[in-house]
Symmetry: C2
Subunit: 197 residues, 2 copies
């Protein structure tokens, strides 16, 4: 038997439960805004169990951010894939997905970026940098598919629109969703970056 089959006393399951609760708590209250004891009471887990699984609070933070980056990256790539082969459609789908995310109740910006701005040292910045690299790769795929003159440059410009719209949606009050304007800007940049027609 490769994996455990029991339901209750399963280390992997407790680990996942801690991870899930910590992800939400850190996102809502900040990395420094929630203590380990608080996290334990949210999950119904003892401190000893938490420390046995993650070693330290920083270890937990790193695991949370890593898992979050994986999940968000998969989600955004799936949104692009669901739009079919046309690069403009794929790009539009990315920003439509962002718009949906920004409108969710409890939205507080990108968890990875937020974490990196809170902890200048430690693993947060490295994980956030890799996260942005993943986003960049997705956008660069679209730019290349569209036949852009310099896909790397276009992708970096599009990434700024992704990050910028997320910041705006979090911090800037506005009647219209920021991602909708970002979407139009992205399509304009895409069209301007393909040499011929």
């Amino acid at each position: 038997m490769p994996v455990a089959k029991g339901t209750s006393l399963d280390p992997a399951r407790t680990r996942a439960a801690i991870l899930e609760a910590a992800t939400a708590a850190f996102y809502d209250h900040g990395l420094d805004g929630v203590g380990v004891a608080n996290l334990c009471s949210r999950t119904g887990v003892s401190k000893e169990t938490l420390y046995r699984h993650f070693g330290s609070k920083q270890g937990l933070i790193e695991a949370v951010l890593e898992a979050r980056s994986d999940k968000v990256t998969r989600w955004l790539r799936a949104a692009a894939d669901s739009a079919g082969p046309d690069p403009a459609d794929r790009l539009a789908a990315v920003f439509d997905a962002l718009a949906g995310w920004h409108g969710e109740p409890g939205f507080r910006g990108c968890a990875l970026v937020n974490a990196a701005t809170q902890h200048h040292e430690g693993p947060a910045r490295a994980v956030a940098a890799r996260h942005l690299d993943r986003r960049l790769a997705l956008l660069e795929d679209i730019a290349t598919l569209a036949g852009a003159r310099d896909p790397g440059v276009l992708a970096r410009q599009l990434l700024m629109l992704v990050s910028g719209s997320t910041t705006a949606a979090d911090l800037h009050p506005g009647s219209e969703p920021a991602a909708r304007h970002a979407r139009e800007a992205a399509l304009t940049l895409l069209a301007a970056a393909v040499p011929a027609r």
Copy 2:
């Protein structure tokens, strides 16, 4: 005599010194990363003096962010003004100024945005929102001057490039400065937003 003229025992001067040291410390280590006692030792000031001037740590944070927003807003507007009347020149000058800022040693992103992502409650978010409003107003002036179809929409798109390039410069490793790519994107969006030529 309307104001004090002495140099040493001047409340306004001590207040400014605290503000200056706190601005740097909060920027470098985060709002929660530096304690009040630590701040006092940096300035050579006693806790009693600090609390007499600012009432609480939150009061100090609010004063720091307010002053920072004023200073940054004036600085960015001055950069635009130094570029002359042409809207494209003014927009380019804004991103050139950003590029210079992003390249400064110790650059860690926008202090206002960072503060707002660290403290979801309290004055930080409100001050940051007003700060983004000021930036938006500057960009909207340029958009209007250029005769854009919808200056408000263009300004919000440009603001995303400003915020997005600042985030990228802080968190994303890259050989070329993000603001240079943002500058070209901004000029492209500006050109595409003016109806006739």
